[in-house]
Amino acid sequence: MRRALLTRLLSLILSLVAASVVIFVLLQAVPGDPAAFMLGTGAQPDTVAALRADLGLEGSLPVRYLDWIGGMLRGDFGTSYTYRVPVAELVADRVGVSLPLAAYALILTVVIAVPAGLIAASRRGAAADWGVMGATQLGIAVPNFWFAMLLVLLFAVKLRWVSAGGFPGWSDPRAALGALTLPAIALALPQASILARVLRGALIDTMGQDYIRTARAKGLSQRATIVRHALRNAAIPVLTIMGLQFSFLLAGAIIIENVFFLPGLGRLIFQAITQRDLIVVQSVTMLLVFAVIAVTFAVDLAYALADPRLRRR
């Protein structure tokens, strides 16, 4: 068990190192001088030189890479060029929007997908199953940002129930949750469709197993069999997908935040891209990748703990 844990930890670290190298190299590949790129074409040469020194662009690539990573590990993500404040401060402000949004969306995903998958699997081939499968087929095909626009059209433009975007801050938690509701629904719909289909497939697979037949033969009702036996075994593929979905939710949040003008990490990245604030782009991307890889690791670890057969591998 300890050995398995160590192997996984090692692969986590390797993934993070590889990811950081890729991100670093990509941003070094910005055509020309990054300082000149950031300042635009009309910049004075001495301003560019000053920014180069400021950005730590002097020195060899490996040294700069180690500086950046060392800083990240100490919580120093660099200094934003446009805002003139530490990137860590910018991130801290915006995590309070992006993380609750992704969590809200994940909860909605599960709340929608689990009943839908259960109904479809237990009434296989019946009208309810066809309904769920049809709706999820559509849910997968809808781009979440377009669905978000439709929600705005319905609830903000036609019904005038909510404002079309913006975020009031957490001082009023009800208003804050209200502002995150439409974005979370837009994010959750495609993911819930995928999860419902996976759950249905996993349940149908499990229901064909001998021990399920035994449980039924003992006189357990269909519902009790599903809840007590099948659901537990269907949990593994479902957890795997949920781990992957976190990554989609984070990436999706980047775009959805732009639809609803939410001041989260996604808007920060896009503003940084348009303002050519490369250090913000580099550090925030690394943080997002770290979050995704860490969640994947945690899911992987969760099964190893849950499933005795995997524990020994």
Binding site: M133, V142, P143, L153, V157, G201, D205, G252, I254, V281
Partner: protein, 278 residues
């Protein structure tokens, strides 16, 4: 091998028809469009549907039907080329890994794939297009890179069990090398797997292209694209909501068509997968 007729389900035929509709529209747009989308006519802006403009006009007076057709061309071209990158690089890598199972090469290919899988693809695609500048070509590269590990995995997974078969042994005894066997004997056997996967990646590519061009990192004006049409429409959603409806419907119909077609092809080509229903 694909032999004989492929029997598609009714849903599969709907998918095939939708796909054919959009591919047809995109091909037609190469030689003919109802109206020139490069010409802006402010006096004709936001017109309702009429015989001259079956779907009306947008805020620059451009014909919506023509814009949607030209947008189909962009989406399909980007997604198709991205699938091409995945097939062209991923399949040889996967076959190579399968041919040298357990070797360091296999290990490197598979671990490299794990790594790309762990990346949030859209974030990296945004990064790539942001660094190298927004353009259709960079969108193709950004989407295509993430197709490589998908096809490598499918090709390797499909090829591994075939390597143990007798006729492969016969080919080896006959003195054929691993690379030759891979391309002569294994590739034809995994074609159906690859076709199904290509359909899935094609539909994901359409969605990714729409997302990238929606945030302004895809094809640049004057090239028409569905995602950009949606981004433009968003600012006018209070006054001209219909402009936000049509491009979205086009994306949904195209992606739905490809997904239905992909599912049906998978069922038709591999009955063993049918019961999974995922």
């Amino acid at each position: 091998m694909m032999s004989g007729r492929i029997r598609l389900s009714p849903a599969g035929w709907i998918g095939a028809a939708l796909t054919a509709l959009f591919v047809g529209a995109a091909l037609l747009s190469l030689v003919w469009l109802p109206h020139d989308v490069g010409v802006l006519d402010i006096s004709a802006r936001n017109l309702p549907p009429s015989p001259a403009h079956p779907l009306g006009t947008d805020h620059y007076g451009r014909d919506m039907l023509s814009m949607l057709m030209a947008g189909a061309r962009t989406s399909i071209a980007v997604a198709l080329l991205a699938v091409g990158i995945g097939l062209g690089l991923g399949v040889p890598l996967g076959l190579l890994a399968a041919a040298r199972r357990g070797s360091w090469l296999d290990e490197v290919v598979m671990r490299g794939n794990d790594l790309i899988f762990a990346f949030p693809s859209l974030v990296i695609a945004i990064l790539i297009t942001a660094v190298f500048g927004p353009s259709a070509v960079n969108a193709i590269l950004a989407i295509g890179i993430f197709n490589i590990p998908v096809f490598a995995r499918v090709a390797r997974g499909g090829a591994l069990p075939i390597w143990t078969l007798d006729y492969i042994m016969a080919a080896r005894v006959a003195g054929k090398g691993r690379a030759l066997i891979s391309f002569q004997h294994l590739l034809p056997n995994i074609t159906s797997l690859l076709i199904v996967q290509a359909t899935i990646q094609f539909s994901l590519g359409i969605l990714a292209e729409a997302a990238l061009s929606y945030v302004g990192l895809g094809a640049q004006p004057p090239t028409a694209s569905w995602g950009r049409m949606l981004a433009d429409a968003q600012t006018m959603i209070y006054t001209e909501p219909q402009l936000a409806i049509m491009p979205g419907l086009a994306i949904v119909a195209m992606v739905l068509g490809l997904n239905l077609l992909g599912d049906a092809l998978r069922d038709a080509l591999d009955p063993r997968l049918r019961r999974m229903g995922v």
